[in-house]
């Protein structure tokens, strides 16, 4: 039986990570809530098998991103999750409207990328080193560099439009 206390501590410590993954992958507030709960559930389910062979954040990103893929590709989604505290999903409401607007624009740019690019840019923006991005995604460090260059070009084109 996984240690509930330890698990709760880890989730509390890294709740921002889960929040950012849900913001990148989900397209509505309801989907964000669903995905958030799915990620916590999957983390709990696999917590027992986490043998500390990887950094806790590497394991969390891997589970969160894989859950996001599963969530995106579910054929039929039925929203019957319990509503959770709205504050959980509205935490970037920064008092400066201009900055808030830029953050929304940032998410909008990321959301236009394809699934692979979303994962790579998220990890890059999170400041993860290339070898950790490689461990989470399964792509080589060189391939990640190539893909990041492509993402840079894509973003430039998007902004010019």
């Amino acid at each position: 039986m996984p240690d509930k206390k330890e698990f709760i501590g880890i989730i509390k410590e890294n709740e921002g990570l889960i929040y950012k993954v849900t913001r990148v992958y989900a397209n509505s507030k309801e989907d964000e809530q669903d995905l958030y709960q799915d990620i916590v559930y999957q983390l709990w389910k696999s917590f027992d098998s986490f043998r500390k062979e990887a950094k806790i954040t590497t394991w969390m990103y891997r589970v969160a991103l894989n859950t996001a893929i599963a969530f995106l590709h579910k054929e039929r989604r039925k929203r019957n999750h319990q509503p959770i505290d709205d504050a959980l999903m509205n935490r970037t409401d920064i008092n400066e409207p201009l900055k808030q607007e830029r953050i929304e624009a940032l998410y909008a740019v990321i959301k236009k990328l394809n699934t692979i690019e979303k994962g790579i840019i998220l990890l890059y923006l999170e400041g993860r080193p290339y070898d950790e991005i490689a461990a989470i995604t399964g792509f080589s460090c060189t391939n990640i560099g190539t893909r990041l260059n492509r993402i840079r070009q894509k973003i430039t084109v998007q902004i010019k439009k």
Binding site: I11, N80, K99, Y124, I155
Partner: protein
């Protein structure tokens, strides 16, 4: 917005997010329990209910198989039992497949490959399901006519009208379904193309 500019903005946003710790112990516990219950509802129950209905029909036919005479009604009965058994088998396979993906062990790339393969398999299974259901409708109509109504429908005038009605129902449904399957197949191919890049 350049990548570096995006990173700076992201860092600022991350600091703001970190400052707003809102999750509580009870919310975390509730989330895992809620999710678990919903997973049961969403995935298992429809599959299990469908299998139970098929099983009940198999048992009903088998218990009353001696009533299926002449030979063509018996042939329809056996075909219905075989078709229903295949439908149950497909359901069991689908459940096994759902349980086999270990989200914590595989990486992002493997996960995407898994879902591309899953989409291909989904289309294949749905097509088989569709054809099996069509066969089941055709064969179970005379079987149920004999078992429930005591009538050999093949000898009843106007019996073929039922098949015409079934065809009218099935034809637009099949066109719609196959268009949908094409879309799912394309989605899977799109993922593979992204991975190659």
């Amino acid at each position: 917005m350049e990548l570096e500019e995006m990173k700076t903005l992201w860092e600022e946003m991350s600091i703001a997010v970190e400052k707003q710790k809102t999750i509580t112990d009870s919310i975390i516990i509730k989330m895992t329990q809620t999710s678990f219950r919903n997973k049961m509802n969403r995935i298992w129950i429809p599959e299990i209910l469908g299998s139970l209905v098929c099983l009940a029909e198999i048992l009903y036919i088998l218990i009353n198989i001696q009533k299926l005479t002449p030979w063509y009604l018996l042939a329809c009965g056996i075909s219905a039992v075989v078709t229903l058994s295949l439908l149950i088998l497909l359901s069991v396979k689908a459940i096994q497949k759902m349980r086999s993906v270990n989200i914590s062990k595989i990486n992002y790339k493997q996960s995407l490959l898994e879902y591309a393969a899953g989409k291909r398999q989904f289309v294949l299974v749905q097509k088989i399901n569709f054809y099996l259901s069509a066969i089941l409708l055709v064969v179970s109509l005379p079987v149920m006519g004999q078992l429930m109504g005591g009538k050999d429908l093949f000898k009843t005038s106007g019996f073929w009208i039922w098949y015409a009605v079934l065809f009218l129902f099935f034809y637009p449904l099949s066109r719609w379904l196959f268009k949908y399957y094409l879309k799912v197949t394309r989605d899977g191919e799109e993922i593979l193309k992204e991975l190659e890049g």
